[in-house]
Amino acid sequence: MWFLALRQLTARKKQTLLVTGGILLGTAAYIAFSGIMLGFQSYMMERLVSGGGHIRITAREKAITREEVQPSLYEEGALVSWFKVPSGRRDSARIDHPAGWFDRLEKDTRVAGYSPLLVVQGLAKRGPVSVAVNIVGIEPHRQANVTNINSYIKNGTIEDIGHSGNRIIAGSGLVNKLGASLGETITLSTAGGKPLAFRVVNSFQIGVPQTDDVMVYGSLSDVQKLNGTASQISEILIRLVDVDLSESLAREFGSLSPDRVESWEEANQGILSVFKMQDMIRNLMSICILLVAGFGIYNVLNMIVTQKRKEIGILRSMGYTGAEVSHLFLIQGLLFGLAGGSLGLVFGNLVCHYMGTLHIGVPGSAEYRNMMVSYDWQIYFKAFMLSVSASILAGWIPAHAAGKMNPIDIIRTEGS
């Protein structure tokens, strides 16, 4: 039946090309969509994972309670009735026992590195211009080990700030707002300490204005001094040997301390749910495209079955069974799927390569790069399987109908 199926397909070149083209486009569209979306997702994932560590330990903010305040103001057992119950946040959030964490993290073989941070809010001032900023105190070599901050700094590294000496690397947006240039000195101040002068040694550009416009990196000891909180840290970023362990390790670490321990997945739940939504839309669109192509196959084969009633009748009279006649049309559906699917893989790959040459981002920024496109073999496998199975399914219905045809009914009606 392969012989006859091939002959029938090649005899109807226009129809065959049209249907194969439909499958080709459906397959290629799936590959291009998936390549672009998964490429974007992996790019975002890389930024999320590499930018903020795999696990983040932060000090849990504590509220003031009446039970804590009362003993320091009244004798024990006194009956106190408050006009206004004491409330509000404690002065600052800090990790109470950082040395304990450091010790544990140093010894844990699943941990590739960690970076302690002190994040404080403050004010950056240059001349008459003041801008509210987030000042992040870091140990530069640790921060470089745990995050990919260096990929956002042009002509330098985060280690340019050193371990002391009041040097900072500021977000490019902030530098512009202040009108400062590299090498210039600006004043930083926080609620807890005296204003200090810092020299801007470099700038970074992540591409996210909420970060680039407000963030300043300084050495941990300098920021502790600026804030008047010596030896205090508010966060620890952790990089793991295996990123897939982040959720389970976050749970494990979280059970050891009152500090808040979050995996990167937990911290970025919103974005991950957007990715899930994207995946759903991607799959839905692809299914719709292939359904349309499948209907094309169905219509063409259905029409052929009707046109070929005479031939079906004569095949049956020659001793071909209903199942063999079904195979004739099923093979044609399969060949449509194989040809359209294979060509679709090639065309989809070419589209992906073209998309990969397009530039995205702001020209001149550290983030200006080619569009990231995924070439994961699973996309291609799935696309091929989808197109072939859609074709077989679309071919099965008319093929089944052809196999069910009674030869004598055909001969009687065609002969009359």
Binding site: L4, G319, Y320
Partner: protein, 219 residues
Amino acid sequence: MSIEVSGLKKSFGTPPQEVLKGIDFKIPDGEFVSITGRSGCGKSTLLYILSSLDFQTSGSVIIDGTELSKLSDPDLHHFRNEKMGFVFQFHYLLPELTALENVLMPARRTQAHIKRTTRAKEILKQFGLENKFDALPATLSGGERQRVAIARALIMDPKYIFADEPTGNLDSANGDIVLKLLEDISKSTGATVLFVTHDPDYAARADRQIRMIDGRLSD
């Protein structure tokens, strides 16, 4: 006896309308038999039942010692493929295939087409179609197409050939050629040939005529 028919009845529709009303006959091996009668008398229905394309309502058809209605579906298809050849009023050639490929189609079912290619060419030559092996049906005349259809019916060297008005769609010259071919086949191969015809001259050339009137044999 090669074909034995007894008490054959066939009804169609609701309420059932009896088209064959109890038919009995026997045909020995190698006989050249015509079936004649007016339109609607049941001759084509009889031919289709004899050739296993249709089934009787009651009665029995035994061919080559086998009661066809008792065969399983695969066995029936195999029997039809190996032992029967069909010629219809319309040629029903597959338009995508050449004359030679059309002739070999029954043999393809059992992958015997390569082995039978020489035989197919011989038959086509015998039918005056030696220059038409690679011709598509669309490029052949009506008579040539019908000859190719007969060649296709012969490729498996069937013991039984059933022809339903094989000359019905041809002019008299081509009709004569086709009937002569069927006659020769019967004589040369010893195949039993049953053909339905409206033409009394063609019917008269048969070894035996089966005349039908309103679903019954006339005598």
